[in-house]
Symmetry: C2
Subunit: 297 residues, 2 copies
């Protein structure tokens, strides 16, 4: 058990997204001592939920590392959150009376980028429940997308899932020919017709729609024309995001997020050739960010 003199020896890294919040405890020599996962950490979907998830995940990570949770107030935390690219949410979270010794707040985009490139300049595209592109070159952050659902986040899991739901409804109405997507949507959601489908999806958030993304790729891989068109449109958007990011001349570009293994094969060959594997996950990027900020002081 570390005592409070250990406050500069370990750091907390938080990655708070729309579906879960991850925390890690890292030693000064970059060893992961413990991890914790709690509920959604995006303040756009609820401030109370977000601060509870951050605190909870941090306590779980401390417990996992064998450190008493009373130490929370002696530890510096790097906190990367979805949603805080919106100034109003950044300000709200900055004003949080957090339980840490110090909190360095950043967007989920920045910590993903710092993590992927081990603290160096670079660019990332994130395709998970949402989608976006981000580069950090010579101290200049640059964002493409990150607009949210349903008005943005093209090429994301939620976007693919929404296309699946939309096209199934059009097809069940006889307005477009049936496709492999229909049966897969009905089977996954355990519904039998359009009325039950609407009941199942009405008012659902992005994370729900993202559950339908894989079946679009499955259908495309089976040669379904409609699915191929959807995948082509989504991949085309990610290609466009990549080209915008590459104009910033990042040393490296990485593709990360849960949809990566599904969408990567469909990207333009010239884009694929430029992708590198991310070095660290976003929560490690939060620790890197906190360290960089501490060194600036």
């Amino acid at each position: 058990m570390l005592n409070s003199s250990g406050n500069n020896e370990i750091l907390l890294g938080i990655d708070g997204g729309g579906s879960k919040c991850k925390a890690i405890v890292m030693s000064s020599d970059n060893k992961i001592l413990g991890t914790g996962i709690a509920g959604p950490g995006n303040p756009l979907h609820g401030y109370d939920q977000a601060i509870n998830s951050i605190t909870e995940s941090a306590k779980l990570a401390l417990a996992d590392a064998g450190i008493d949770e009373s130490e929370l107030g002696n530890i510096v935390a790097g906190v990367g959150l979805a949603g805080v690219n919106l100034p109003v949410l950044f300000e709200q979270m900055s004003n949080w009376q957090h339980p840490f010794k110090k909190m360095y707040l950043a967007t989920d985009l920045l910590i993903a980028c710092l993590g992927a490139h081990d603290g160096n300049d670079g660019a990332v595209m994130i395709t998970g429940t949402g989608s976006c592109g981000f580069s950090y070159v010579d101290g200049h952050p640059f964002i493409v997308g990150a607009h949210g659902f349903p008005h943005g986040d093209k090429g994301s899991g939620a976007w693919f899932g929404l296309q699946a739901a939309k096209q199934s409804l059009l097809s069940l109405d006889g307005l477009i020919p049936p496709s492999l997507i229909n049966d897969k949507v009905l089977a996954l959601l355990e519904v039998k017709d359009d009325v039950e489908l609407v009941e199942a999806i009405a008012g659902k958030p992005a994370a729900f729609y993202a559950r339908l993304a894989n079946l679009v790729f499955d259908s495309a891989e089976e040669g379904d024309e409609l699915a191929l068109a959807i995948v082509a449109e989504g991949a085309d958007y990610i290609n466009h995001v990549a080209r915008q990011l590459l104009k910033q001349n990042p040393p490296h570009l990485a593709l990360i997020g849960g949809l990566t293994p599904r969408i990567k094969p469909w990207l333009d060959v010239t884009i694929k050739a430029q992708l590198i594997e991310p070095i660290n996950p976003p929560e490690v990027g939060s620790v890197i960010y906190a360290k960089q900020q501490l060194q600036l002081q």
Copy 2:
């Protein structure tokens, strides 16, 4: 002031939609004695809100007709509601301990159709905040669409508004060329860039997006290519809905809803040629429905 013996002489007609609930009091010889408007009446967006709006609009209509609200329990009401095409909501609303002498519950689609065709067979397309098609021929109801937002309701005000928001964000990110839509969206919402735009639209309901629909048509009428493409896609969907409805051989087809004057000019000429003007508004259709049900007993 009518006394309680007037219960078979007057009827209440309710049209409860996603943005407001309209009520009328009608005499037995089909004269409108009073009208009332209250908040949203679609139980999909909240049961308590819906029943409050229905009761409130009915009381306002009675007051407008010079009838004491204590008479509510002596009057038969025809109640047409958005959302109750979903069985779970139809059942919930049917079980409501309503304040009327009797309540005849129907979908907003059926009462719109009965109103438009004065109680006779026919078909309607509704393009307001949402969109759908409905025909009633030889006792058979037939629905196209009516699936809700954002997964359905193509060609509706909310759909056009969402396209405007999406395309503006893509353009502000440099992923597509700018269009007339951009400046109009930013001006209408009084925001200056993509970050403020996302703050303005994040988590907003269909009725909010529907406010952006007119600017798409404005832009199209000014010759903007992107707006023309969006209008063509929306109008094409309504054309498809019309063709599906016409396969049911309705004696007449009417186009109703707030978006009618904007979208009608863009429909296929063969579809436009078959449209008739609706005879009565939906709330009168609710009274017609109640009368038909009373006669069946």
